[in-house]
């Protein structure tokens, strides 16, 4: 009888995993396609691309990767005057935005989640409940008001202010870090207090090193998100074009600068390099740290 059940179990498992595996394979390949297409097309000539939309390049044009550095330009208006950004200017903006905004966003969440998870104080329960409230009962779709408030506080079109004020610390990351901080045994900090250390010593010398893998994963994910995001410049920083925004604009304007789609895609391929390198280097840390628990303390 037991043998029969075991056989049935194995048969059923095999069937299920084969079906799921096939769906996975087809879907996974389709997700790879944009990436492969971008790389292949970026090496094509104009006629080559017009002849074959999906095929391999007949001659590999490496020049697309050099010419994009010369032709990729975006015009923006600042203080009533036109400014032209080249690829290096946009790269610089992307780098500053991704490095620092990721840092300040994470800092805000870390500071709040750590206090709520590890300290007993009057506001503790309230702050945790606020996080649940914000996640469960959001005020939806207030983009117009956000723009008005950003203008009031001088954040709109101000690169520095936009980086320093990343927004409310509550949400998914708060929940994730709250759980991670909570899991660190209190004996670690007690040992530091016995040795005469203070709260800051505990936080900087004990908690941060222990949390480094999770924090790195969140930082890298935020970095990649900001690096590839064109909407920050579109909505809040119209005079500060990032590379993703520049490429987004350039694909409409490419004809004006005599560029072809393969050259634009060479630009996108260059833009993707930091994200891909970062992700491949920290792939294990990133995928393992993505955990979300329930909405309860």
């Amino acid at each position: 009888m037991k043998q029969h059940v075991k056989k049935k179990r194995i048969k059923e498992a095999k069937a299920l995993f084969i079906v799921v595996g096939i769906i996975f394979l087809i879907h996974g390949l389709s997700l790879l396609l944009p990436f492969v297409w971008m790389i292949m097309t970026s090496f094509k000539g104009r006629l080559d691309y017009a002849d074959s939309f999906l095929g391999l390049p007949t001659t590999w044009r490496f020049e697309n990767y050099t010419s994009i550095f010369e032709i990729l330009k975006v015009e923006v208006i600042r203080n009533g005057q036109f400014y032209e950004y080249n690829i290096f200017g946009m790269l610089g903006n992307s780098l500053i935005l991704a490095v620092f905004k990721s840092f300040f966003s994470l800092l805000s969440v870390v500071l709040c989640a750590y206090c709520v998870a590890k300290y007993d104080f009057k506001l503790r329960k309230l702050l945790f409940n606020i996080n649940i409230f914000v996640m469960v009962i959001p005020i939806v779709g207030s983009l117009a008001t956000t723009l008005t408030v950003y203008r009031q506080f001088g954040i709109y079109n101000n690169f520095l202010m936009y980086i320093i004020f990343p927004g409310s610390p509550f949400g998914f990351n708060f929940l994730l870090l709250y759980g991670a901080f909570k899991a660190i045994p209190n004996s670690y900090s007690e040992a530091v207090f016995i040795d005469g250390g203070g709260h800051l010593t505990v936080f900087l010398r004990v908690i941060i090193p222990v949390m480094l893998p999770t924090l790195s994963a969140l930082y890298i994910l935020s970095f990649i998100g900001l690096w590839n995001d064109y909407s920050a410049s579109l909505i809040y920083l119209p005079s500060v074009p990032t590379l993703a925004y520049g490429l987004y604009l350039f694909q409409y304007d490419s004809a004006k600068y005599g560029a072809s789609l393969p050259e634009v895609l060479a630009g996108f391929a260059i833009c993707s390099i930091p994200s891909v390198v970062l992700f491949c280097s920290f792939q294990k840390v990133i995928t393992q740290s993505l955990t979300v628990g329930g909405l309860k303390e």
Partner: protein
Amino acid sequence: MEKTAERKKLKPSKKQVTKTIFLTCMLIYPLAQFLIFYVYLNFNNIIMAFQGMRPDGSTYWNAFENFKFVFHGVDSTLINISFWNNLKMFALTLVIGMPLNLLFGYYLYKKKFGSSIIRVVYMLPNMVSGVVITLLFMKFMEIGFPQMMQELFGIQIPNLIRNNNSAFGVQVFYTLWLGFSTSIIIYSNAMFSIDEGVIEAGKIDGTTTLQELFRIVVPLIFPTISTYMITGVASIFTVAGSLYLFYGLNDVPQKTYMMGFYLFKIAMAGDLTAYPVGAAVSILITIVTVPLTLGVRWLLNRVDPMRDVYGDIA
């Protein structure tokens, strides 16, 4: 003597003072942002919903005119379409996406063929700009797919992206296609935290694979599933799809409109006089979202298989 003791009791110790100073320093930055970007912003949003705005940005009291405009103004049809499209999009992604997410997550959890590669491949769309993915998808739908259908079956396919009747279906397909990435990783990570002993005990009792998935794994990762569901419902009307990347600001087919895009368009069009209408719409959809989210939360609490073990969701 008694008074000195009482005073001593009232006076906070040095330890307490340092703790308070530390907490204040730690919390001042995040809480200041919460006060500005959540409390002040939403307070402003409520006020703006009852105001009118002149082209120079100055405001005046407008009572319920913005709300009247939402229901009876020139955009009422568009708002109505957007509202139902968001609900349809949520229902379809939930019905099709959630079971597949769980199955895919379970596949990774069981470390079946190609799991480690799949974990990388599924994160790849996040590494490339959304502009590239949309560009390829559009080119494929506009050039590749019709060409393929013509060559293989001799069928002439109209442009599905530009066609008012098929454009929303394309959006649903696109959202589903790109929808499985981080969620699969999160579900599989939640599954990895399950005690192996529980799974082994199930095997000894003769559970089949599907029984293991639905009777052991799903109940044990239910907190993660319910968090996903609750936040999904809470953001039901913020979804804008990739309409802007597909069509730009002004060429979106009417039947494809979604609430997120409608509000985005108001903010981006540069017409300050339309901002209060956006605020009114946001208040109205919040009024719909709040009971819906709380209802789902209540329902999930009722059906939580581990409720008797761990108690209610907070």
